[in-house]
């Protein structure tokens, strides 16, 4: 298995949580994985990006035109980080409607699940349901259950499942 994923969004949208779930899931599936993420001032609402490399890689960064999958939590980040995708790569975007792109309203799905901050997991559910990630929905749901604090767990899982449903 070799898969390079970029997760792009605004500081505060849960890019770090999503990165962590992807890394934990890959490890649970027995893959090597290395990731990197944005910390510091950009976390205050600026454009942030994480990279996840599943497989026998050494360094965490992904070069322009290398990523197989891009998860975009904010449509405005497409022109900023879209170049990381390889030709033929898959971009999934949190947006109400975006001509020419595979969009899902993850904000709405998360709000309906009672956890507006879980749009990140709704988008993950959508990607896992579409079958574009290194594993399917079951592994990701189990991972979310393992790493999420109990207080937010059920609504987070609901948001994730709403994403999976929306992919069908």
């Amino acid at each position: 298995m070799r898969q390079r994923i970029v997760v792009s969004g605004r500081g505060g949208q849960g890019v770090l949580t999503l990165t962590r779930v992807l890394a934990e899931a890959a490890t649970a599936a027995g893959h090597e994985v290395i990731t990197t993420e944005t910390h510091g001032m950009a976390q205050r609402g600026g454009a942030v990006i994480s990279t996840i490399k599943v497989g026998p890689f050494h360094g965490p960064l992904i070069a322009s035109g290398e990523a197989e999958v891009g998860l975009f939590l904010h449509a405005d980040n497409l022109p900023v980080h879209g170049h990381y995708l390889r030709s033929g790569g898959t971009a999934l975007v949190n947006a109400t409607d975006l001509p020419g792109h595979d969009a899902v309203d993850a904000d709405r799905l998360a709000a309906e699940a009672g956890e507006p901050r879980a749009a990140n997991l709704a988008l993950l559910g959508y990607a896992a349901g579409k079958g574009v990630l290194f594993a399917g929905p079951d592994l990701f749901e189990a991972t979310i259950r393992r790493v999420t604090p109990a207080k937010h767990l059920e609504r987070n899982v609901m948001a994730f499942r709403a994403g999976v449903e929306a992919s069908k």
Partner: protein, 609 residues
């Protein structure tokens, strides 16, 4: 063996606990902040009675850990690279005097830089101080190197530096966990004034001892570079790399189908380089490429005209060595056909901004409205984002706002004309870190300016580490709080006001009073403490909800609130040509009620405040 997915900084923290370290200290700063937090977490998990300390600044952190090592215990101090500038004084001398218990210095570099004032290379500091430095390429290796650092430090009685970079600190990877060693050494300080209190006449001998240690380290097999031989396709050439640049070089060679074609070396200890390695590189190769971040530390020690690197300009001298950059370097070094490069410039993306409901925004609004022609020296923290609001004119290093404010005053005042209103802004943690000496100095030198201390009760930018004002330790225990107001008064400041930052009217009145006082006959430095708890802190649920707000039909769409106030909860409604309130984002601080020039932002009586 159990493995756990850890961030590089967590792996380092875990390594520190596994090695039976007794005292760990730090001052927060990206990309190093999570190291000490994980030390506290893993020590608690292991049931170790460690002393884990967020110190007031890096110099103090260094000295606390150093003395613990004098007693024979293992000690560690971690910081970001510019923190080592602050700690450089004790660091330099500790190389001469040496240590007893293993002493680890972690200095995290930030090539790029992503969240720093410079992209300086701490390995040069190691060379400058004459101490060994280890340069990990991954979280896993960073943890292994913590063990090596403690072992070397005890064997040679020398401080050892671990130098991770952002891409190691903030990488995540499955890392093997070992059972933490239980520290059983009792503290025992053996007095030796010729060493621990060395006067200049003993220093040359200590220096000789240090040089001798370095000579022995150069022959220590544990510092030897790892060799990955090529198949002879590219004869008499080699690539030498260290840190995460080694990892990225490996991946790029893989991607280009060139793995195993050319000799590769991973330098794990960039200083001191082993003598026989330097000789071998000089004799066995005609062409050598060095890939390292951020300055040419390995390259300079090779002192070889055949070396391609930063000196020859093949490797760019500035910026992060991303896979794209490394690919370009390899293509040129190996004489390959260059692949088409992405030259289109990317848009920058959303810029960061202060959070909705942040008290700093209220304070900056009051300052810029009160002093439209003021000079605003700023400082290091979230509140540097006051630059977006036109209320921060300089940002230099920790605590510089107050020193620079004094410099501005003296420069203008000596011209004999009316000097401008100078307003320094500094956060609570930064004030404790290095604002206090600058304030004492300014008072003593009779400078006249305003200091607004933006007290949000935490070190917000780096992830909410406690400040001395809070009275809580890194381990979550009760400390003894130290109050900013007491420190300000003790610094000789006669004008001191404290205000809730949301209370823009009172804050504005205090600013006007302070300016009048500062310009009066007996005027001097005036200080206002503007307090407002960080809206992101754990206690955010208790944030004072003051007003629900709405925008009335009177909104003219002038955008003044968006441009001057920049609250993320004020959103532009393209269709209506007016501003609206982003529900779910608004913190209900009510500060924007002061902002609209036509009064179209009003309290929403229909909603519970």
């Amino acid at each position: 063996m159990t493995r756990r997915v850890l961030m590089g900084n967590e792996a380092i923290g875990r390594g520190i606990v596994e090695c039976g370290c007794s005292v760990a200290t730090s001052y927060p700063g990206t990309p190093a902040s999570e190291i000490l937090e994980s030390v506290a977490t893993f020590a608690r998990e292991a049931g170790h009675r460690m002393h884990v300390e967020w110190s007031v600044n890096e110099k103090v952190a260094y000295e606390v850990a150093l003395a613990a090592s004098y007693t024979g215990k293992r000690a560690a101090v971690s910081m970001k690279q510019v923190g080592l500038n602050v700690a450089s004084d004790p660091f330099m001398r500790s190389a001469y005097l040496g240590v007893k218990g293993g002493f680890l210095l972690v200095s995290a570099d930030d090539p790029g830089p992503h969240s720093s004032q410079t992209e300086q290379d701490s390995r040069f500091y190691a060379m400058f101080a004459k101490v060994p430095v280890l340069d990990p390429s991954s979280p896993r290796e960073a943890k292994e190197m913590v063990g090596l650092a403690f072992a070397l430090s005890e064997a040679y009685e020398i401080p050892v530096m671990l130098r991770p970079t952002t891409r190691v600190c903030h990488a995540r990877q499955a890392v093997p966990l070992l059972t933490p060693e239980r520290e059983v050494r009792p503290a025992r300080f053996d007095k030796d004034p010729k060493r621990w209190c060395a006067t200049p006449r003993f220093v040359t001998d200590l220096h000789r001892g240090l040089t001798d240690k370095l000579g022995r380290l150069r022959a220590d097999p544990r510092l030897a570079p790892a060799f990955f031989p090529g198949d002879g396709t590219v004869p008499r050439s080699c690539i030498i790399a260290s840190g995460v640049a080694f990892a990225h070089t490996w991946d790029v060679l893989d991607e280009m189908g060139l793995s195993g074609k050319v000799d590769r070396y991973q330098v794990k200890a960039p200083y001191p380089l082993p003598t026989d390695f330097i000789e071998r590189i000089g004799s066995a190769y005609e062409r050598v490429l060095v890939v390292e971040e951020t300055y040419p530390v390995i390259e300079m020690q090779l002192a070889n005209r055949m070396v391609s690197g930063r000196g020859s300009r093949l490797v760019p001298n500035e910026g992060e060595l991303t896979p794209e950059v490394i690919r370009g370097v390899l293509v040129e070094f190996l004489g390959l056909e260059p692949a088409p490069v992405h030259t289109a410039s990317m848009p920058a993306g959303a810029r960061p901004t202060l959070c909705a409901g942040c008290g700093h925004r209220a304070a900056y609004y009051a300052i810029s409205q009160t002093f439209p022609r003021g000079i605003f020296p700023g400082d290091i923290g979230c509140y540097t984002l006051g630059v977006n609001l036109g209320a921060v004119d300089t940002c230099h290093c920790m605590g510089a706002s107050i020193g620079q404010a004094a410099g501005f005053y003296h420069a203008y005042a000596q011209d004999g004309q009316a000097f401008p209103s100078i307003v320094a802004t500094i956060g609570d943690s930064t004030f404790f870190h290095s604002g206090i000496p600058a304030l004492v100095n300014a008072v003593n030198q009779r400078a006249r300016f305003l200091v607004v201390i933006l007290d949000n009760g935490t070190t917000a930018m780096t992830g909410h580490q406690p400040t001395p004002g809070l009275g809580r330790t890194a381990s979550g225990e009760q400390g003894r709080p130290v109050f900013i107001r007491d420190l300000v008064r003790a610094s000789g400041v006669a004008f001191l006001q404290e205000v809730d930052a949301y209370d823009v009217e009172t804050l504005t009145a205090h600013l006007t009073d302070a300016d009048r006082y500062m310009r009066s006959e007996e005027g001097a430095v005036a200080v206002i403490i503007a307090s407002s708890p960080c809206v992101l802190a754990a206690e955010a649920g208790t944030t004072r909800a003051v007003h629900a707000v709405r925008v009335t039909e009177d909104c003219t769409g002038c955008r003044e609130c968006l441009d001057l106030f920049e609250c993320p909860a004020l959103v532009w409604d393209e269709a209506a040509g007016k501003v609206g309130i982003g529900q779910g984002t608004c913190a209900r601080c009510g500060v924007c009620l002061h902002v609209c020039p036509v009064g179209a932002i009003v309290a929403d009586e229909g909603e519970p405040a």
